[in-house]
Symmetry: C3
Subunit: 347 residues, 3 copies
């Protein structure tokens, strides 16, 4: 199993968070393509190639106008599907006056983009994630960072929690051996992998008891679901013992939910989008903020090791790596991804 995987074009990726996009323009490179994201005349999220068809200038240097997006070099205006609607100094607009547009779906506070074969863009394949849509039930804060590594190294990092004791030794680490030896079930799903760990009748960690009043020991879980090619949905928490948490987690306790998603910029770099929410003490914005800051601190630690890992793997990408017992989930993730690649090629 290698860590560096090829790019998959026929898939939905997070291009931005809804709350990033108002009257501004967002420029991102996704799957090697320069993209500009903006709201069209109707306020609908739209994505165009970030390159004016006239002289090649990046549209991100332009600005939003009433009819759409105005190029900042010579003033051509494009609407949300990339059609030119104004050329300063001339009345007729030729048909070839247009820039490439990409399908975009804004849903549940995510802005998803499709850069592959347009005819295969199926909105029903987009992950359903209702939690952030109801901020009164699951307040959240979203962000992203850029990591100079292949996107699957981000997935590998999330799906092998034994790194927690080593990489996050100074933050959330705790006893490394506990992580390495924890009981874990790993299940392959239709298009990914579900990893679940339960620690029963254990002492609540400081971050848990700082937020929530427990009565003693708790049953604690970590659930990570990889959905190929690029998303990991995390649900972690704890509930007072004796409440049959394993059968029913929808009870009062400490609950946090994170969406992690790796959107490739290139083969060797990605945007790491994360949305961090919680379902306990939903009325306290400080809880949201603390949870966000605490997690971002660990994401920075992950990014640092992942980037140097990429440097090493790039030196000799084909040398085999050693597989160990705790790689089970990671291996299944790569298998799910390979399955997706195969299916894509068969289409």
């Amino acid at each position: 199993m290698n860590s560096i995987e090829p790019l998959i074009y026929n898939a939905w990726y997070i291009a931005a968070w809804s709350d990033e996009l108002a009257n501004n323009l967002i420029g991102r490179t996704i799957l090697n393509k320069p993209v500009v994201i903006f709201r069209d005349a109707d306020g609908k999220a739209a994505a165009l190639e970030d390159r004016c068809c006239h002289r090649g200038a990046p549209l991100t240097h332009g600005k939003r106008v009433k009819e759409g997006l105005e190029c900042g070099y010579h003033g051509l205006v494009f609407n949300g599907v990339g059609k030119c609607v104004e050329i300063p100094g001339q009345k007729d607009i030729p048909n070839q006056a247009c820039v490439i547009s990409y399908p975009v779906v804004e849903r549940q506070h995510f802005i998803w983009i499709w850069l592959g074969d347009r005819s295969k863009a199926d909105e029903t394949e987009i992950i359903d994630y209702p939690f952030f849509s109801e901020p009164e039930k699951c307040p959240s804060r979203k962000g992203f960072m850029e990591i100079k590594a292949n996107y699957m190294m981000g997935i590998d990092n999330l799906m092998d929690l034994t790194h927690v004791g080593y990489v996050h030794n100074n933050t959330i680490g705790g006893d490394p051996k506990a992580h390495s030896n924890a009981d874990m079930t790993v299940t392959s799903t239709k298009n990914g992998v579900l990893m679940e760990r339960w620690l029963l009748d254990c002492k609540p960690p400081p971050t848990f008891s700082r937020s929530v009043q427990f009565h003693g020991n708790i049953d604690r879980w970590q659930e990570f679901e990889y959905v190929a090619p690029s998303t990991v949905i995390q649900w972690s928490g704890g509930i007072d013992i004796g409440k049959n948490a394993q059968e029913n987690r929808n009870q009062e306790g400490f609950h946090f939910r994170i969406v992690h998603s790796v959107t490739p910029k290139t083969e060797g770099s990605y945007y790491y989008f994360f949305g961090i929410g919680h379902q306990h003490r939903v009325d306290n914005p400080q809880v949201t903020e603390d949870l966000y800051q605490e997690n971002v601190a660990t994401f920075i630690e992950d990014g640092a090791i992942i980037e140097t890992q990429q440097e090493r793997l790039e030196l000799s990408p084909d040398r085999p790596l050693l597989t160990i017992r705790n790689d089970e989930a990671v291996i299944r993730c790569h298998t799910a991804l390979q399955r997706m690649i195969k299916k894509n090629n068969m289409h």
Copy 2:
């Protein structure tokens, strides 16, 4: 029409301004060649390959000595035509002790260089530009900046003024539509393109009336002449109405003259040399300085858009671009350049 054009070696380029060169050494990369420019024993401007023939050290790390240029590594001395005239520690100087020299012509405050086939270097082909030679009639200030883009993007920028309303929106822009719709005559010349715009009976812009006392409306012109491969000669100004300005511009009024010249460093970068002079209020150095600063501010805005344009065009240099009505002068410039390339190849 593309924007990225090949380099032309058989042509004169500005290597430096005369006032840059005293007892110092100037190191520049021109047409991919490292060049050192200095004054020889007689004070004559000279240009050598910036690479000592002994151990390859750049001569720019040396210093000017009585006999010429002394290498800063082991002290070999070269004269203005690249012949070694001293080797420390030995008396005889072999014939092969020399570095490549390039024809240089210092004239009218320009230092021109020729990096192509020496036998084709014809001084009579150098642009005649008398204005800066008589500072009492046309005081000026010269400068340059480095732009990471193909040199023809600099020419394109100068020869399509419709960008002014968009790129210079915060400085000299004014109403974008006025620029796009202005009447303009474009004429092909022997080795370039002449573009002329007249705005008759119009209000003088603030920068004009700050400098010159007009009696009311003015007749205003903008004249840009492209001389292939790399120079644009600009004459802009305004004269009180009723003085028949279109027939005779050599009258009192607001007159500024700019030489713009793009000297390629590589296919993807150039030096942008500019000399900015004026023929009104020639006794006031503050007018010179203000005009210089005002123009440089817009050149920086141009540089920013041009560099990102280059990034996009480099991604897919062969994709066709859209031609619009206002590209007429730009198209003719590329045609003139192509004509020059053809002629060069036929020689």
Copy 3:
């Protein structure tokens, strides 16, 4: 003769100074290979490929533990010969759980490394340099810097002292002509070149007389011995005249000894290791410090010219260079290196 030489793998190089390595990890790139240097469970200097066999993470991000070096990503532990001795979460350790190790010899305050064919690593070929082992007889300070140039440019610089008058004009330079015309004997040795210069009955330079009380003029020498592929051993000093210094230098006077060694990182970059000691006024640490600072100042000047020399030579590495009289030692050094390359290939 060219300056850019190929890398030689079957040779000992300085990887670090002993006093750099305690409980820390040192990461270096040597001959294009990432290496981590550490002390094993027994305190013995060891060197491994800086790449964990599990997921490729650099081991330099880990830490020293009782049994060896623990990877900072998932906690695998390796001993000094690269064998994995612990995998968190599993008991059995497969044989392939190991990283490449490199022969290391720590001797006389040097840590030498061998990155070539292990079967050819012969410790008896390591330079014997007893001076720094007896700090009470020859106190020293060691350091290194990184130079972006082929390693042989560092050797060329040391073995042609005519540069001193030009490159170090503002520091130790003195009269350039004196250096260029000094009498010099150059002798080829078994695996290198010995260059010796004597200035008899001359005035002691300021740096000499600041440190040592002379009675008048001195006999002064500079001895540089190149030992292929990468080391230059310098012994410079001066002794009062009339003491027959040329026959016997082991007398009171001004004596400094420098080991210069260029360890290639890549074809175009190297670590410049230097150890600077002295055998006069050995009880005064300020003398050691002053000598160190004085030399490092000139090494920085050398580095600057060498890096730009590399830039020029890279542009056209195959163009011939001019050989002059003072290049004699440099030419012999390249000949010695070529002999070593040939011998290596014949093995």
